[in-house]
């Protein structure tokens, strides 16, 4: 077990959520639930963060922001979709300005549904996320890949193949 999963730092971004899940994410950090006892700290800097907690169903305006935050985070990294809006679009699925789910923008590792998501569900999701973080770290050490990109994702991501960094765009071409 590495030191990373003993003290994962989280970053939170509100991608057109109603605030309900956001205040529950914050509530996790405060005395009643107090995830800081597990070494989890909320940070504002993507480069310091291991886990990205995203709430809300992404819209056209903030899809770039979500993708930028994701790309700025260093490997290994885990994305947790908090709340039903982040999972599928939820009640806003039929709205004209929602894309419906964070997985439309970035690859998601763990889904934590609920409206609003309960702090217990967020903590459970983070614990599952830690296992994935450890797997990714081991894979990274062995020179295997990094975060998998979903097919409809528009941003470029790097992969490491035989110790060489290959741009995702180039990979797409080789895949045909």
């Amino acid at each position: 077990m590495s030191s990373t999963i003993k003290s994962p730092w989280i970053i939170h971004y509100d991608a057109s959520s109603c605030n309900g899940c956001d205040i529950e994410v914050l509530a996790c950090l405060t005395p009643q639930y107090d995830v800081e006892r597990f070494g989890i700290i909320n940070t504002g800097n993507p480069k310091h963060a291991d886990i990205l907690l995203v709430t809300g169903s992404v819209n056209e305006r903030n899809i770039n922001v979500v993708q930028q935050i994701y790309e700025q985070m260093l490997e290994p990294k885990v994305v947790i979709a908090c709340g039903i809006c982040a999972t599928t679009g939820g009640i806003f699925k039929e709205c004209y300005n929602t894309l419906g789910g964070i997985d439309k923008a970035i690859p998601v590792d763990v889904y934590a549904p609920g409206c609003a998501v309960r702090p217990e569900a967020i903590i459970d999701a983070v614990v599952i996320g830690l296992g994935i973080l450890e797997q990714k770290r081991t894979a990274l050490e062995q020179g295997k890949l990094v975060s998998e990109k979903s097919a409809d994702c528009v941003t470029a991501a790097d992969k490491i193949v035989d110790g060489q960094t290959v741009r995702a765009a180039a990979l797409k071409i080789t895949k045909g």
């Binding site: 971004y13 509100d14 057109s16 605030n19 309900g20 005395p31 800097n45 819209n59 903030n62 300005n97």
Partner: protein
Amino acid sequence: MGKKTIIPFGPQHPVLPEPVHVDLVVEDEKVIEAIPQIGFIHRGLEKLVQKKDFMQFVAVTERICGICAFGHSMGYSETIEILMGLEIPKRAQYLRVIWHELSRIHSHLLWLGLLADGFGYENLFMQCWRLRENVLGIFEKTTGGRVIFSACNVGGVTQDIEDGDLKGIVAILDGMRSEYEELLKTFLYDSSVKNRLSGIGYLSKQDAESLCLAGPFARASGLVEDCRLDGYGGYGDLAAFEPVLSEDGDGHARCEVRAREVYQSMDIIAEMVSKIPDTPISLPVKGMPGAGTAAVHHVEQPRGESFYYAKGNGTKFLSRFRIRTPTSHNIGGMTKILQGCDLADVALNILTIDPCISCTER
């Protein structure tokens, strides 16, 4: 005079729980202009009235904002009740006021915590949020939900609180008072808090009036602006209601107004519980909003006046639903107080207006 530089602030920023983007035009350390950009949380929720019928739409209005969730469902329900000419039972009106004022306590404690976090007083932040969990506990006990709890419906409320539990709520709030007293002393008289907040983001009464500000932001500048004064619903039965005002108009005054409003809400809840009548909690809603009918209504949310408009067309779908939320008035005041402030005070100034971007952009 230095050269003009534009510094982008947001949408992702540690001090902001919600995304808002401000382009700060700075000259040396002074901000000379702040240009807000919004749209990061726009979902297009008002158009959903064409897909969800007027009874289902309560669930959507509740999700306009997770902090003032109950207030929005109450505002929408009251608008539809005015539209259809319904007079709901007294007990339902009182229960609505009780939940709404509990929401105000939770919202203000949340904001006081975020403010403390904004100037680096981590301990105070944790204490505010610890106290706030008591209120969320009440929500969970009475309705099952913590932040979004679907207790309001067109025609009344969905669940009753038994008289014994109502007394329990008052007892919990009374228990909070002594602990809250200590926090209040820190916010109002602690020298480090005072030094950080006094004189920051001053806004005169004239400016507050001309910018049509709402809620605690306006009241901190001495403007008497509170929809609860109308006495609609349960508020009409209060023995006396006096809005909390301050004349100072700076960040500390805004902190003081919100901090004192927590006590006011506790008093309102205690009074409502002592007077609550024993009537049904809802009445059956028959028929549809008539063709060509329209209604307007306003509700005092924790952040200020929220305005509702609904237009019926004889079917179960409304033809138009419109909300104007307090932060959309207050963003004008925010850009005003950002002009001429130090770059280091920008985050705090944005915080002191208590922006709710989810409400504003819907």
